[in-house]
Symmetry: C2
Subunit: 164 residues, 2 copies
């Protein structure tokens, strides 16, 4: 009976796209959050310089905080920015849509742990192999440097979309 | 005691952005789905001709069907396409982000009920007033006409994004 239960647990775990054992980890210790595509939408975005089309999603703490206008966001907030190659729709070229997956990036709020980088831990996982970005933990200097111009918005470029 | 319960229910209902009593209804009888921003992401898109940036979300039936590669999608599938004015980010103009809300559109699958329009019922709600689009039920001819070139993809322009 116990064996049947364990087989059931194993099958449930393998049904997700990324199992716990194989989760990539960034050089600063942040592991990928495998459920980021199930989180609520924060906003879409389009980067014409990179040729990327993106969505930003957030976990429950982040989305609730953003909707309530909290600045800074509370500890436990996690945001994911997912990028795909931007492609013209073959049947409708005035529309740009996602092609191949490029990367997923995370910002993880912990005011104490990440106090040197605005309270945010950064991580990036690149390509279909989800290869962690950065040679060592200093890679975050590049991430944080780019976010300094939006320090007043809790270091976030993205604002949550508004709907009536 | 019963009164306290009812007050609680009323407060819960009014916490949503659109109450059941005030839900706009399209001329073909499709009422707005108020929870479309809580649905999972199907894809982002960018319409350079309209200057819109969009996300497409889907209810559980639609997203499960799309992930399983079902064509046509099963009855009960609902997709929402939400459009905002596309604006350059003030701190970072190579990024285009959502500005003011433009509209939300729905495609509702019921193979029998909507058999004349590919099994899809269409609806559009415009602006912050969520004004139903169309003078009468014939407005769907315009919607469906535009979707005919993608008949082989169950009349859907959007494909669900892929992530590793």
């Amino acid at each position: 009976m116990l064996r049947i239960v364990w087989v059931g647990v194993a099958l449930l775990l393998s049904a997700g796209s990324i199992g716990a054992a194989e989760r990539p980890v960034a050089p600063n210790g942040i592991a990928i959050y495998p459920d980021y595509m199930s989180w609520k939408v924060v906003a879409p975005s389009y980067r014409e310089d990179k040729g990327h089309i993106r969505i930003i999603t957030g976990n429950e703490i982040a989305v609730a905080g953003l909707r309530a206008g909290k600045n800074p966001l509370p500890d436990g907030s996690v945001l994911a920015k997912v990028a795909w190659k931007a492609e013209k729709h073959p049947n409708f070229p005035v529309a740009t849509e996602p092609g191949a997956f490029v990367q997923v990036e995370f910002m993880v709020k912990d005011a104490k742990k990440y106090k040197d980088t605005g309270g945010w831990g950064f991580a990036r996982f690149v390509g279909n192999e989800l290869k962690p970005y950065g040679k060592d933990a200093n890679f975050v200097a590049e991430c944080f440097g780019c976010h300094i111009p939006v320090a007043k918005n809790d270091y976030l470029f993205t604002k949550i979309v508004k709907t009536p």
